[in-house]
């Protein structure tokens, strides 16, 4: 077993993990953060997307030991029920969530995109979501939601900037 220290959703976590434990496994099974889903286990579906040191990654393709010393943001760290992140509000209001299974991953991919590109084109949003498969929505509403949230974040960056940062 290997001891890792990392910051998850703002709190320092110290875990003892087997070498073969994936980051997804550690988050879900050891920290109870089940927002990241296991959909394909090979990096195709993106349901396990989390943000590690500012980069979106498939948590199923990363060993937990690789996250040692890193800062991890999962969907649970993005907002609370009372105070949604603009992306979550847009996904909800623009019907970008149906069964919801891909939602947390897609929202975090969108956040990672908007963090580096606050004013993306429609094509850039499509590119940013290409690693998140959704079988319900047909993506159109997700893309609309990301563009909508981007606009809102640009208009009032401070209201949302406090969300999910470290």
């Amino acid at each position: 077993m290997i001891t890792i220290r990392f910051v998850v959703n703002g709190a320092l976590q110290v875990l003892s993990v087997a070498p073969e434990t994936t980051l997804l496994g550690a988050l879900r099974n050891q920290l109870g953060l089940t927002g990241a889903k296991s959909g394909c286990e090979v990096g195709d579906c993106g349901a396990c997307t989390v943000i590690v040191d500012g980069r979106s990654v498939n948590a199923c393709l990363m060993l937990a030991v690789q996250a040692d010393g890193c800062t991890v943001l999962t969907i649970e760290g993005l907002a609370t029920r009372e105070k949604l992140h603009p992306l979550q509000r847009a996904f909800e209001e623009l019907a970008a969530l149906q069964c919801g299974f891909c939602g947390p991953g897609a929202i975090l991919s969108a956040k990672a995109l908007l963090d580096v590109n606050p004013d993306p084109s429609r094509q850039e949003v499509r590119d940013g979501l290409a690693g998140n498969l959704c079988r319900c929505t047909g993506y159109t509403k997700m893309i609309d939601a990301v563009l909508h949230a981007a606009q809102e974040l640009r208009a009032a960056p401070t209201s949302a900037a406090t969300h999910g940062e470290r």
Partner: protein, 290 residues
């Protein structure tokens, strides 16, 4: 995943030493996007996983007198965002952009993509079109190979059991060379290439093509150069008809397979079209039109 032992190699020497000790029982963990998917499905995992993702010497992009040196652990996203790449060989950024999706590009590394040596890899053709070389470090020291000699077959490379791919060098003579990369998959995002192709060329004082390179992926056991097409292009004045003919020569020279993604015939047709377009794009760059 089956259990294994894990060691984070601090530097190149440490990684090479571990490889020399454990040989075939060890696997290198770079970005992990191929390795972990592989380990999850394989019945016999390695005994040891050597994590080189913390070895600083394997990271970064630097301009040297010999050329542009890209550390093996440089991720596809870093290549896409690098100012040096954008200035000296933007075709690599274009190729990197077509690999997987954002999440894969954030973890996956250039070195990992080359070592996995899947025939459809997207970083190979652009590098081959720029005459890239690779640096290998082993117990016996370091050596440098043209990338075309590095690929030995599907998932086979020239790496010896105790060797590690450390860097990729775009020779100084290729920096700024007009080049284009095109890929065709079953969809745009996160798809394996049915065919990918890269082309590069210089124009001489009289506007004729010199040092043309045509490289193809997914249509042979390894990334291949279409030498017939290159010989045909050399010394000719660029023209749409010339590019069409070069495409046809490349299509004739490649050896695609038929599988559930596409038939060999369809892949051949794609080669003809992609080569023609890549040449036209490279020519447009040479003329300063883009």
């Amino acid at each position: 995943m089956r259990s294994f032992e894990y060691v984070a190699a601090g530097d190149i020497r440490h990684a090479v030493q571990l490889l020399a000790e454990h040989g075939a029982e060890a696997r290198i963990l770079a970005g992990g996007t191929d390795l972990l998917a592989d380990l999850k499905s394989s019945a016999h995992g390695p005994r040891l996983v050597i994590d080189i993702s913390r070895a600083q010497a394997l990271k970064g992009i630097t301009l040297t007198p010999a050329g542009l040196c890209i550390g093996a652990m440089t991720t596809h996203t870093e290549i896409m965002r690098s100012a040096l790449i954008a200035e000296h060989c933007p075709v690599l950024a274009a190729a990197a952009h077509t690999i997987g999706a954002v999440q894969t590009r954030n973890l996956g590394t250039l070195g990992g993509n080359l070592v996995t040596a899947v025939p459809s890899m997207d970083s190979g053709p652009a590098l081959v079109a720029l005459d890239a070389q690779v640096g290998l470090a082993g117990s016996a020291g370091e050596r440098r190979l043209p990338l075309t000699d590095f690929f030995r077959g599907p998932r086979k490379t020239a790496l010896k059991a105790d060797e590690l791919l450390i860097d990729i060098v775009i020779p100084a003579t290729s920096l700024g060379k007009p080049a284009a990369f095109l890929k065709s998959g079953l969809r745009k995002g996160q798809a394996l290439a049915l065919v990918n192709a890269a082309a590069s060329l210089w124009l001489d004082g009289k506007g004729r093509i010199i040092e043309p390179r045509v490289a193809l992926g997914a249509v042979a056991p390894v990334v291949m150069r279409a030498t017939d097409a290159e010989q045909f292009l050399a010394g000719r004045p660029p023209a749409p008809g010339v590019f069409v003919q070069a495409g046809a020569l490349a299509a004739a020279a490649c050896k695609p397979i038929s599988d559930f993604r596409a038939s060999a015939g369809y892949r051949r047709d794609l080669v003809a079209v992609l080569v023609q377009r890549a040449l036209a794009q490279a020519y447009a760059m040479a003329e300063g039109r883009t």
